[in-house]
Subunit: 374 residues, 3 copies
């Protein structure tokens, strides 16, 4: 591994790759077979692989030119989450998939952004970033939160009127998914096209792509990028099978609910690379990049991954709707609102980081204490 | 029609007046009698008449001097909506009236303002407006949204305590209506009196009145203004009778609910003139005027028309309360909040217009899919 | 009483001390015994005593140096409310205690801040204050509001899953109380330490302490400060016993609910001194101080007094959870949100004061009309 590579992700999470052979051993050596251990090691091994997928996508995007490359990045920056969710969807774990959507949104906004602002704020009295870009992202977030509230409002109101059916919620979800994807397209046109000067580095997108501009490193060839992308994707899909297969056993032995697994565990695993990058950027006082990674990643989940999963679920026995549980809705709305409050003035300080982390703690407590549905 | 007149409302909606004789024919020629057609043509004919009422009010206000004229404008700028609502109230269509209140608020904020910001943003990279004036209006909006939430919270909490009665909700609504009217009076004192320099043109009010300052045109005599106002008011009342009388039949043949009629159809018909004016202003980069029309019109509905309808309903068999359905409340709260988010920083771009329109689409889908109450 | 003392609290509330002997007489002269009268005169006598406790705390803090003194002030600025609440808690009036928490938060934000901004705005066209400090406080408020929503969301979701127990809510409340106290500690570190230059006077805290810097007056000796503090504390505790003992009888003869007593009466009594100070500061165009008193006092209640009461309740037969009723939650969320909207741009005018007072009126109406739970 080159020096340039090591500098990209510092502190590097690549040492977690040691869990890849461990996971294979636990899965295929029958004497060592233990579902809970398998769940944990598969989760740990997925962390660096998700990072490698993102990195290979960026390298490939670099060869594509600004427009197509930006689009590639913005669409597949969260490809690892997408793969894990698709495999869980095929296995019928609808609640885990929904919880991992809300968990990713909350985790990126409160944990990743909170820790970034806190760590950056410890070194700098006040940090600033482009207010218009931050407000545009936050408005998109609030729109996404609003969209996730609507199907539940529909359920309550339609049930009261005596006319609710699961099919109606499914059709409403499908229509909302189309609107969300359209909003995401508009957001990309804004940040990669008409108003790209507002965004970090002058040519960055709403995702991690931004970071590349900032950190010069040895570029990969197209061949190498494609090879790494395919290899990492294959391994992510393989490990996701282990993770999803072991989820039931792990839940019972760890004593947590499906929602807790999705909201806390899957969301942290899928976003560890973003986490590391955003904190590093914040500590270098590059808050525009830190925000682009943390908020941009949430937006990708809400406006791209979630609608795509709704469409994809029509290939599987169980369809995915956008109707979430009350705690999930409250958590997403609070996270979007407090993020907007903190990012909307274009400046940050360490206290704002603590406030985001405190909200994450309170929401985490809510999910921790929630009993499983009977 | 003079050149000045034509320039006032461009693209003019006056050609829709052809539907006035059509509506009369459908209503009174028994062979042509068709309630659904009557509903549609009456709605179309109401659009230019509502515009003429507003225009005649502005002309009259011009003769009254700044203070009284501003007050007249601010109070009767939405007189057409008020007349339609009063006639629907007399006929006992309480749910249609409530839905047209929420629909007008949402429509002005999301559809009218959204399209204005979008169209203006296509021509200008960034548009700006007075931040203090916009925030004052948005705070009033949020207050109105809060007021519409309270009676429903009261219902739920009082029912849980075992002491809810319709009379209690009615008395609470009456008291809230008094507070809202008082807030509206304060808002007018602020925008027409103590802080008028913040508002568009230096002497504008919170409504469409503002536009007059901007677009010089031949002034009407008092006699002409009064005659047009009386004539248009008479025709609006007459057509409203047709519209309200045909609402039941139209609902069944079009397969939509009372709430959908109010939220989408009545609200669009009553606000088409504002729509046209606001978009025209935005495309001329006069965002202060576009906001004054769109947000000001919402405020008039929420803080003036709604309380007046509550008071007026005591003349009819069925009283109007301020208790709305859950979807209506959620829609108004989301619309007020997202408008505030977008207008609160004193600048706009095309993406913000798309975001407002996307929220309108999502809320429209909710009302479209909602079944009728049995 | 010295001239300096008189100038501190102008208009002085000290004349209300005449109700102290009246309260003793009504309580101990059996012929005059009347519980409703006792409730009213005890409440009136508590007003100046709460002010004296606050003033003595400030004087003592002055001798302690900046760090410890600021901490003392920030922790015991609302000691009178804390004492009243502890005595009500011991007597098992859990609902009164909860209502006085939410009532204090709402009262300080809407009534105290509203009247301050309104009165200041009548004299000055526009008043300004430090935006970063105001936003930090408002974010903390929103966080506190979010924390008070969570236990109710937990109750609803856990009950739906079939696994709700009062003990689970209690444990969740305890965990949230720890997070809130931690947030308060961070807020103090920010306002007294790392970012104290943002706050009023260059060395002020988030509470009334700030006022001292501004108004030079004769300093008290440590002995005098301790003596006044002990004496006032003793009298506050004594009168609180009367107040709490008479609450049931007063409720019935005045025809109001426990929640109304807490939200309106206890909250106004406990915060009258803050009220007087904040309005005086606003009229002198010292908006940073007015905000520090009003918003800071709300924060103290939400982030310090409420958690401490949760911990303290373990010494009594009935534990205090952080689960509030729906009207209380809606009221706190609306108050926090509208305050943020108004204070978030660093400037104020009289209309914003009217808007805060209008929201207070609407929320007051809600609690007035609410029936008692059976």
């Amino acid at each position: 591994m080159s020096a340039a590579r090591r500098s990209w992700l510092r502190p590097s999470l690549d040492w977690l790759l040691v869990f890849l052979p461990v996971a294979l051993a636990v899965r295929y050596v029958s004497a060592w077979n233990n579902q809970t251990v398998l769940f944990v090691v598969a989760a740990l091994a997925l962390i660096p692989l998700a990072g490698w997928m993102g990195h290979a996508t960026e390298q490939l995007a670099h060869h594509m030119g600004e427009g197509v490359g930006g689009l590639l990045n913005a669409s597949f920056g969260n490809a690892a989450e997408l793969i894990i969710a698709l495999i869980a969807l095929r296995a019928g774990h609808i609640d885990v998939v929904k919880a991992s959507i809300t968990g990713s949104i909350i985790g990126n906004l409160l944990l990743v952004l909170g820790l970034s602002i806190f760590c950056g704020g410890l070194r700098f009295q006040k940090q600033t970033f482009n207010k218009t870009a931050a407000r545009a992202s936050c408005t998109a977030l609030i729109l996404a939160a609003a969209a996730l509230v609507i199907p539940t409002v529909f359920h309550v109101a339609a049930a009261r009127a005596g006319g609710w059916t699961p099919l109606a919620t499914q059709r409403l979800s499908l229509a909302i998914a189309v609107v969300l994807l359209g909003t995401y397209a508009a957001m990309l046109r804004f940040s990669l096209g008409t108003h790209k000067q507002l965004f970090a580095g002058g040519s960055a997108d709403v995702g991690e792509h931004a970071v590349r501009e900032d950190e010069p490193e040895a570029r990969w060839s197209v061949g190498r990028a494609v090879a790494v992308l395919l290899g990492a994707t294959f391994l992510v899909a393989w490990l996701s099978e282990f993770l999803v297969g072991a989820v039931e056993a792990a839940r019972h032995s760890l004593g947590v609910t499906e929602v807790f697994v999705g909201v806390v565990i899957v969301a942290i695993v899928g976003n560890a690379a973003e986490h590391s990058t955003a904190v590093t950027m914040a500590m270098k006082n590059k808050m525009d990049l830190a925000l682009a990674v943390a908020v941009g990643s949430s937006l990708q989940i809400a406006l791209f991954v979630a609608p795509v999963l709704v469409f994809a679920s029509y290939a599987f026995p169980h369809q995915l709707s956008l109707e979430f549980t009350l705690p999930e809705i409250v958590a997403v709305v609070l996270a979007a609102f407090v993020t907007d409050q903190i990012a909307g003035d274009g400046e940050s300080n360490w206290l704002e980081g603590v406030q985001l982390l405190a909200l994450y703690a309170i929401i985490g407590l809510l999910f921790y204490f929630l009993p499983a549905a009977h």
